[in-house]
């Protein structure tokens, strides 16, 4: 199970680093609610990703029906957690809603960006 921890560490570190860097520049640009929304939602995105990894082994070795029910329960549980920054950004003006929406996809954005970069680099290597 060490590799799951490694992959979580890799993507979570990159996601929070990206959010903090973006947040820093946004605060410098005077967009404090945008920065706050982005960083807060990224934290919840990471929490969701970690919980997803923790529940994965529970789904292995079960029937399709049980796996489906476990997956559904896991989704509902994790989405209640993901809903927190969204509700907060709707209720409080200190958090920008759009930035919060972007933030809850930060782990997915980092995963896709990482693989896109790998494809670009390998294509360039082949050309050289």
């Amino acid at each position: 199970m060490e590799t799951i921890r490694q992959i979580q560490k890799k993507y979570c570190t990159r996601a929070i680093t990206a959010a903090i860097f973006a947040g820093f520049f946004l605060i410098l640009a005077g967009q404090k609610p945008v920065a706050k929304g982005l960083i807060l939602a990224t934290f919840f995105s990471i929490l969701n990703f970690i919980l997803m990894g923790e529940t994965l082994p529970l789904r292995i070795g079960k029937s399709k029906g049980k796996t489906f029910m476990l997956a559904l329960s896991s989704i509902y549980f994790r989405y209640i957690i993901l809903a927190i920054p969204l509700i907060m950004s709707i209720k409080f003006e200190q958090l920008n809603l759009f930035a919060t929406i972007v933030g809850i996809f930060m782990v997915q954005i980092v995963i896709l960006a990482d693989h896109a970069l790998k494809i670009i680099l390998s294509t360039r290597e082949k050309q050289v």
Binding site: M1, T3, L56, R59, T67, A71, L82, K91
Partner: protein, 324 residues
């Protein structure tokens, strides 16, 4: 018992939010269940690779879940958003938004599970191709999200555009129809796109040398598979933005609602059918790469024929909107 517009808005937003999250989560759960089931098979085939298999499963499921997170965003907005000008028209738009995103996330959620599952299975067969399998899994899953993104766009338009100056009757039906058209037509395309993505991972594991041919056919197949939901998007846009004259009769409203239902259900089957054609071509090009061009041609002809029913549905929708 009489209802104030504010109460009706709340009812529509709550029902829309419930439908959106409830249906949206089912798709992702089925997809995740499928991935986990194939990961079981992969781990039992090659236990030493269980770490790599879990890793791919986790990354694949993170991307596959995007569609249902879109549904979560729309559901939360529906439940907690303040409506500045409450009207019956807005109530219809909010219900349409929930339907659009809920159903729109379903197909993408299920479909994204196929590349994830086949990548896990493929890693156990071809451990050296782990990197390439993960890349194809991510491309396949990401393309699967397209119909859900279309549904998200329609839901956001329905929620945030002010339809205040248009007549209530028949526009309420047009807005509800727009949500139905987009949501239902997205199911088939999301599911079908996933079938092609899954077959590509299976094909790479079967014959790693065919990776570029398999990826090319997968992308072409997935692109054509998205067509029915593009028709659904088109009908949705017409329903949302065409100005309809005010009427007291019920039949124009029913015609517009029927237009949405026609395109929604009409796009569902062709999306899956196109996915089947793409899945077959991708699977067989891995076994017989020499016949790539013939397989591509057969796939495109098959998809074009399968597409025709979506075109009929679109024609009927347009007749209901512009003629009836």
């Amino acid at each position: 018992m009489e209802f104030e517009p504010q109460v009706i808005i709340k009812i529509a937003a709550y029902v829309g939010g419930g439908l959106c999250m409830g249906i949206g989560a089912v798709g992702a759960a089925i997809g995740e269940g499928y991935t986990a089931a194939l990961a079981n098979e992969a781990v039992s085939r090659n236990k030493d690779l269980s770490g790599d298999i879990f890793k791919s499963m986790l990354v694949g499921q993170a991307i596959a879940e995007s569609a249902s997170i879109f549904a979560l965003v729309i559901a939360i907005l529906l439940l907690f958003m303040d409506i500045p000008v409450p009207s019956l028209l807005k109530a219809s738009a909010l219900l349409g938004a929930g339907i659009s995103m809920g159903f729109g996330a379903m197909g993408s959620g299920v479909g994204s599970g196929f590349p994830g599952g086949q990548a896990c299975k493929g890693i156990s067969r071809q451990p050296k191709m782990t990197g390439r399998l993960t890349t194809n899994m991510l491309i396949g899953s990401a393309v699967c999200q397209t119909p859900a993104i279309f549904a998200l766009v329609v839901a956001l338009i329905l929620m945030f555009i002010d339809f205040g100056n248009v007549p209530l009757n028949p526009t309420w039906a047009a807005l509800l129809g727009a949500g139905i058209s987009m949501g239902l037509s997205a199911i088939g395309s999301g599911y079908g796109g996933g079938m092609a993505g899954g077959a590509s991972c299976e094909g790479i594991a079967r014959n790693p040398e065919t990776v570029s041919s398999v990826t090319t056919i997968m992308l072409v197949g997935q692109a054509v598979t998205q067509t029915p939901c593009i028709f659904g998007l088109l009908v949705s846009f017409i329903l949302m933005f065409k100005a309809f004259p005010e009427t007291t009769a019920l039949s124009p409203s029913m015609a517009l609602l029927g237009a949405g239902i026609s395109m929604g259900f009409g796009g569902l089957g062709p999306g899956i059918g196109n996915g089947m054609a793409a899945e077959g071509a991708v699977r067989w090009v891995a076994r017989n790469v020499k016949h790539q061009s013939e397989l591509m041609r057969t796939m495109l002809v098959g998809q074009a024929v399968s597409q025709s029913t979506a075109i009929y549905a679109m024609v009927i929708s347009l007749v209901l909107i512009f003629v009836v």
